[in-house]
């Protein structure tokens, strides 16, 4: 009884937080979509889903994501092989290079590809077509495939392949009949995650697609900010909610199907042979795809009026031109850092509490039921995209009972919710991995509950906690989906300012946006580098 009461008390903070900042916005959004004049009227939502424009958007979302996923796999699997099974000088550096795109904020990726296709590759006349969008999606998600498939390839027992070879199978046949089936679960898992990321891509599509090419996510944004058609936006949010939940379920199934890792004889990497040539070529293409846009962005930021110059960087403390640009890049960066700081401690507080609650062992049936209920409740934010969240905030939190419209905490709270699933995914497995008897041993030696937590839990959780903070901080720095709805004009975060600079004509603004993107990328990369140094297993893996 006492334990259940303590559990409920502990759960009060995250439950209240999620209740106000998650359930309320999402139910407000559902209400807006399905309720009209106080009556349940799904007709309007169905009407929205019947529009020709919405059909186009939906179709584009699906085929662009599917194509991008296919290309990502086609380039990523050979790259995974080259980076994780072959031995050559510079392998470690190259592996790190492949991870860079994934940590870049989506706005940075968007602007890099815009600059690439409007500048260096302008001759191809592909700017304004879906090609830059798909290329950017591939760029962004290669890391997922390389990391997920590569790790599993690395620990693959080589003996079945050797046995097949001894039975007379040639190289390609061994790959097709032995290696590929063994990698199947990791490939399926990576593909599901990539498809999820691509189909919910927001920043990239908003910058590269303009008004012509929109995914469900960007359409929600356009309907809200350009057309003020809130019921239609709400209807699309519902659709998105449904699709994302479905995809998350598929991803979960793909992961659950993965066999329990056993201790295997991991082979050493071997030198490159002539038969590896196709794989090396594919990996080379992938490398070009990754390196070219980044280098192009950096060089672009260093050019001003056709000359090499630091003028774009010198202009970072000036306010750009345009009605929606009311802050300098430096000011926006400071805003971003402040916001990220608040979002991080919020995400850690809530995520930490959630992790503790869901991993503690239950002592009574009542406690177990309460815990299972909380567990399910805390998983809810996983199914909601950042854009949906931002939209929900916008329509529900600006009037009584909860008026946060002018609160400086609105953006940090939204970003904390976006980072929350990741924080929980980093902390909960570590806490769950602690043998409860360690705590019991400490208690039997006289340690109070607080002291037990300090001795046992904190010792194990320190590094994952640091890693989760870094991750949450980086996510918050680059967060654009929810923030784009909530950021105030005079108080933008850096990604929002970059987007506004891009949207306002003028070469001065453009150069400034390029330099700002480099600054944002460097800041995020620095944070992620620190996280990587902590070497917490499983962080950021899928």
């Amino acid at each position: 009884m006492k334990r259940t009461a303590a559990l409920v008390a502990l759960a009060a903070v995250p439950v209240l937080f999620l209740g106000v900042f998650f359930v309320l916005p999402v139910s407000g959004m559902v209400g807006l979509g399905l309720v009209s004049d106080g009556r349940f009227a799904p007709g309007e939502a169905l009407e929205v889903l019947g529009r020709a424009r919405v059909h186009r958007v939906l179709w584009f979302t699906v085929w662009a994501a599917a194509l991008a996923t296919a290309i990502t796999l086609l380039l990523g699997i050979p790259a995974a092989y080259v980076l994780h099974r072959l031995d050559f000088p510079g392998r470690t550096v190259l592996r790190a290079a492949f991870m860079v795109p994934f940590v870049l904020p989506t706005v940075v990726v968007g602007i890099a590809f815009k600059h690439l296709f409007a500048g260096a590759l302008a001759g191809l006349a592909l700017d304004g077509t879906p090609v830059p969008i798909i290329a950017a999606m591939v760029f962004f998600n290669l890391a997922v495939v390389v990391r997920t498939v590569g790790t599993s390839w690395e620990s693959l027992d080589p003996r079945p392949a050797e046995a097949a070879a001894a039975l007379g199978a040639g190289g390609w046949r061994v790959f097709r009949t032995i290696t590929l089936p063994a990698l199947r679960t990791s490939i399926v898992s990576a593909a599901t995650v990539v498809f999820l990321f691509c189909s919910t891509a927001f920043g990239i599509v908003l910058i590269l697609g303009g008004l012509r090419y929109a995914t469900i996510e960007t359409e929600i944004y356009l309907l809200t900010t350009a057309h003020f058609d809130l019921p239609a936006a709400a209807a699309l949010c519902l659709l998105q909610l449904f699709v994302v939940t479905l995809l998350l379920y598929a991803a979960h199934r793909a992961r659950a199907a993965a066999p329990v890792p056993v201790e295997r004889r991991a082979p050493g990497a071997r030198r490159i042979r002539r038969t590896d040539l196709p794989a090396v070529l594919a990996a080379g293409v992938a490398l070009v795809l990754i390196a070219f846009p980044v280098l192009d962005l950096v060089t672009g930021s260093l050019r001003h009026d056709g000359n090499w110059s630091l003028a774009n960087y010198r202009a970072l403390d000036q306010v750009g031109q345009g009605s929606l640009v009311e802050a300098s890049v430096i000011e926006a960066l400071v805003n971003s850092l402040r916001t990220a700081f608040d979002a991080t401690w919020l995400a850690l507080l809530i995520g930490g509490l959630v992790s503790v609650i869901v991993t503690r062992r239950s002592h009574s049936p009542t406690e177990r039921r309460v815990r299972a209920g909380l567990d399910g409740f805390f998983m809810l934010p996983l199914g909601v995209s950042a854009v949906t969240l931002g939209f929900g905030f916008l329509i529900t939190l600006d009037e009584p009972p909860v008026n946060f419209r002018d609160s400086p905490m609105l953006v940090p709270i939204a970003q904390a919710l976006v980072a929350l699933p990741l924080v929980v995914r980093t902390l909960a497995p570590v806490l769950a991995g602690i043998d409860d008897r360690q705590r019991q041993a400490a208690a039997s030696l006289g340690a109070s509950p607080l002291r037990t937590v300090l001795t046992i839990d904190l010792a194990v959780i320190t590094r994952p906690l640091l890693a989760a903070s870094g991750f949450a901080f980086a996510i918050s720095l680059g967060e654009f989906g929810a923030t784009s709805f909530l950021s105030r004009v005079d108080h933008p975060t850096l990604p929002v300012l970059i987007f506004r600079l891009l949207g306002t004509p003028g070469s001065h603004n453009y150069g400034m946006a390029l330099a700002a993107a480099v600054v944002l990328a460097a800041t995020t990369a620095a944070v992620m580098l620190l996280v990587e140094r902590l070497r917490v297993p499983g962080v950021g893996g899928f």
Partner: protein
């Protein structure tokens, strides 16, 4: 002293410990012996305050312990796999309870050295737990549990994770350390050899209930029932005419059931029973045989001194040694 009075523990609808009463006088070592899943570990955890009682009481020196949390009970708990704190050195592990009680640093250092000496690991203070063998880890866990001279030491299968030879040696050491420090201990195990090697008294548990409790001799000489006899190491339990025949051969009155150790039936040159050898096997201790005894059935037997080993199919004479059997009282 510890008194467990009509204690029950429930896991949901399952009653894991059912109405158990047991006294543990100060300075004694009591082993709770039973097969896995019999509720003995749960009973131990209830004493430690890790499981709530569904009914009954646990008292220390007359005071009810209900509502006293684990860390205030002053009972140290030692687990099957030690549960050392991996991020702390051996010395820090042993000194943990002392640091909680804010003892002066010098006293802690001295006490840690003393305890490590006691468990035969002098000079190990700076080692990391990961570098120790299984047996060494259990020794450290024991030293850690003994550090503040707990009023009661609870041991949950402390030797089960070790291999046979090590287990035997450590059981002896454990007994010596517990008696030399005068520690009161409640000790849970499924291994009867371990229980007999370490404890003063034994409590037999089965399916959540206490079957029998008493000194080693009491339990050994008068197991409560056939199952109890089998569990504490008797090879065969006979009843009816077969039991009467064996009891008669041992010079004891019939009318009861009888539990036989392997060495209770001996192949000799002249004896009251006849039988046919089914198989024989040479072991380091003795030649063990399976014999089909007339009127009794198949029993285990050993070869008496100076008797030539018979092969399978041979007719032999046997005698029964009364000091190697137990008469089971209630023939229910």
């Amino acid at each position: 002293m510890l008194e467990i009075i009509d204690a029950s523990v429930d896991f949901g609808p399952v009653r894991a410990v059912d109405d158990v009463s047991l006294d543990l006088p100060g300075g004694e070592v009591v082993a709770v012996l039973g097969p896995s899943g019999c509720g003995k570990s749960t009973l131990l955890r209830a004493v430690a305050g890790l499981e709530p009682l569904a009914a009954g009481q646990i008292r220390w020196d007359g005071a009810d312990l209900a509502g006293v949390p684990t860390h205030r009970r002053g009972f140290a708990l030692m687990f099957q796999d030690g549960q050392l704190f991996a991020h702390q050195s051996v010395g820090a592990n042993v000194g943990y309870a002392l640091r909680i009680r804010r003892r002066p640093r010098r006293e802690i250092t001295e006490r840690v050295e003393e305890l490590l000496g006691l468990v035969g690991l002098a000079g190990y203070a700076d080692r990391a737990p990961a570098t120790l063998s299984g047996g060494e880890r259990q020794r450290v866990a024991l030293a850690r549990a003994l550090a503040v001279e707990p009023r009661l030491l609870l041991l949950d299968e402390p030797l089960s994770a070790l291999d046979a030879a090590l287990r035997e040696r450590l059981a002896g050491d454990l007994r010596e350390i517990l008696t030399s420090t005068g520690t009161t201990a409640l000790f849970v195990t499924h291994d009867h050899d371990e229980a007999f090697a370490v404890a003063d008294r034994i409590a037999l548990m089965r399916a959540g209930r206490l079957v029998q409790a008493g000194t080693l001799a009491e339990v050994w000489e008068h197991p409560r029932d056939a199952e109890a006899a089998a569990f504490i190491g008797y090879a065969t339990v006979l009843s009816g005419a077969a039991a009467d025949l064996v009891l008669g051969a041992a010079g004891l009155p019939g009318g009861a059931r009888v539990a036989l150790r392997r060495s209770a039936v001996q192949v000799v040159r002249e004896g009251p029973l006849r039988g046919r050898v089914l198989s024989s096997r040479l072991t380091p201790e003795a030649t063990r045989l399976e014999v089909e005894v007339e009127g009794v059935g198949q029993v285990a037997a050993v070869l008496g001194d100076g008797v030539p080993p018979p092969g399978p199919g041979h007719q032999v004479r046997l005698r029964v040694r009364p000091e190697r059997l137990a008469v089971i009282g209630d023939d229910s």
